[in-house]
């Protein structure tokens, strides 16, 4: 039985590995968010948790269209105790997802918003919830 190799080429090797992000972008363009991408989503997200890293914003931009497959790995980060990571993913990724995906993350975002922190994660989560409400036409 053939065992599919982990698509390492889609995951940055270091914080400056923009070529891997470009390869990921091309892969998604051709195959969409297929199993290969899904299988490395947690690793990909781990490169977005510090906005100083050159790959962070580029990766976030590439993953914005992933939709609901992001919910579980993002929820893990939002439920962690890493406020810096929470601030980063909310700032460059979560806030740019569609309303349905954000709604699926609302309970986790509420927890972040209620946990006072110095990194701005609580503030970012509150702002996101507020903007979601402002965007809502369901009233």
């Amino acid at each position: 039985m053939a065992i599919q190799a982990t698509p390492r080429h889609l995951v940055p090797a270091n914080k400056d590995d923009l070529s891997a992000v470009e390869e990921l972008r091309l892969h998604i363009q051709q195959f969409g968010f297929d199993l290969q991408v899904v299988s490395v989503l947690p690793q990909l997200l781990s490169w977005i948790v510090d906005l100083h890293w050159p790959v962070a914003s580029e990766l976030a931009h590439t993953l914005r269209g992933a939709g609901e497959i992001l919910v579980e790995p993002l929820r893990e980060i939002l439920q962690s105790s890493d406020a810096g990571a929470q601030f980063a993913i909310i700032t460059v990724l979560v806030r740019r997802l569609n309303n349905e995906t954000i709604s699926a993350l609302l309970p986790a975002l509420c927890r972040v918003a209620l946990t006072l922190d110095e990194e701005g994660a609580s503030e970012a989560a509150s702002e996101l919830i507020g903007s979601l409400v402002a965007r809502s036409t369901d009233f």
């Binding site: 090797a13 400056d16 590995d17 700032t91 460059v92 110095e118 509150s126």
Partner: protein, 368 residues
Amino acid sequence: MSTSEQARVPGTGHEPLRTASPGGTRPTSAGSTMRLQLRGLSYAHGSTLLAPVQLKPPESPTVPATPEGGRDKIDACVQPLSGYQEEATFTEAIQCLNGVGADVSDALFDKSLTPQQRLALRPLLDEVGRRIAIAEQGLADFRDREGGPQASNVTRILALAFGENTVGMHLRPRAREGIRGSNAMRLAAATAAYGATKVFDRWALGSFASNWLDEIFADVRGEAAPPVGETSPEQGGPLLRNEQVHERDPNSQYVYRGGSATDQNLTPRAPQDLTGDKRGLSTFSSPEQVEKNGFKKAQEIDVGRLGDELDAIPNGSGPNDSHVSIRPDNDVKLLDWANSRASGGHTYTAAVRRAILRETKLPIEQPR
């Protein structure tokens, strides 16, 4: 500052807070029972229908005075529902209406009344029944939307900040999403209220709202609200914005690390910060690049004060990349530093903290 002073919003053009009645009081704690009269507020479905003065005595000259008296009583019963409602408001109104209904029922069997008078009372009884039904629906909606006393207080704040419609927008979608447990609802409501503090700040009402919200958050989380910024930088606590720790050295160079001065933020991550040319703690010599990356504040670090163990290595990829890595002279030490991120307290982290000139918000302010 007096209550009336706190409620006033000088120069903003916004409506000041108003109490519902002479008996109304400003809330002092999360469990308080302040009743607010807010123009246009209507918290439960159909509650506007409960507003008084909708009933008018029939114009027929044959109607006796008794139905008018009954209508006055009905109006008195639902009067509290025209303003801000809470659970007790609904239950009291329902009890009051039941009392009126009982009186009217008794009157229907009063043999002293003429058949015409009895006939005139029947619409009154129907009116009582209709209003009880609306009040009960309102109570059910209220219970459905509210998560308990804390959420109720939060909702008041939201109402003050945004108006009733936005309050409904905050709470109703969550109810639809199935977050129906009271704790979850409290979280949702409190979260929304936290966002509302920004509005309060804009209205110069921050001090009024923030203490109250802190209490609510503490109740919701079942813990005391943690003091923010209480510890000193030397103790590992956050720096206050623009608190200059030491003098600016005109001969030194400065780099910027987005975020706070916590141990976690001043320590590299493993494995991401351990490989590549840019390994080490990432900073930028350009504060604009830190801001562009999404940060709202940054630590300004004097590289000349990093000490002998740490180097600041400019390694940007091009003219627009001002990346500077802060790292020790070998990767084993870097690994050891990164492995301390969870526990904190590494000597290199302390060295970076000591080198901080100030914390500044972005876009950067001119140094003092």
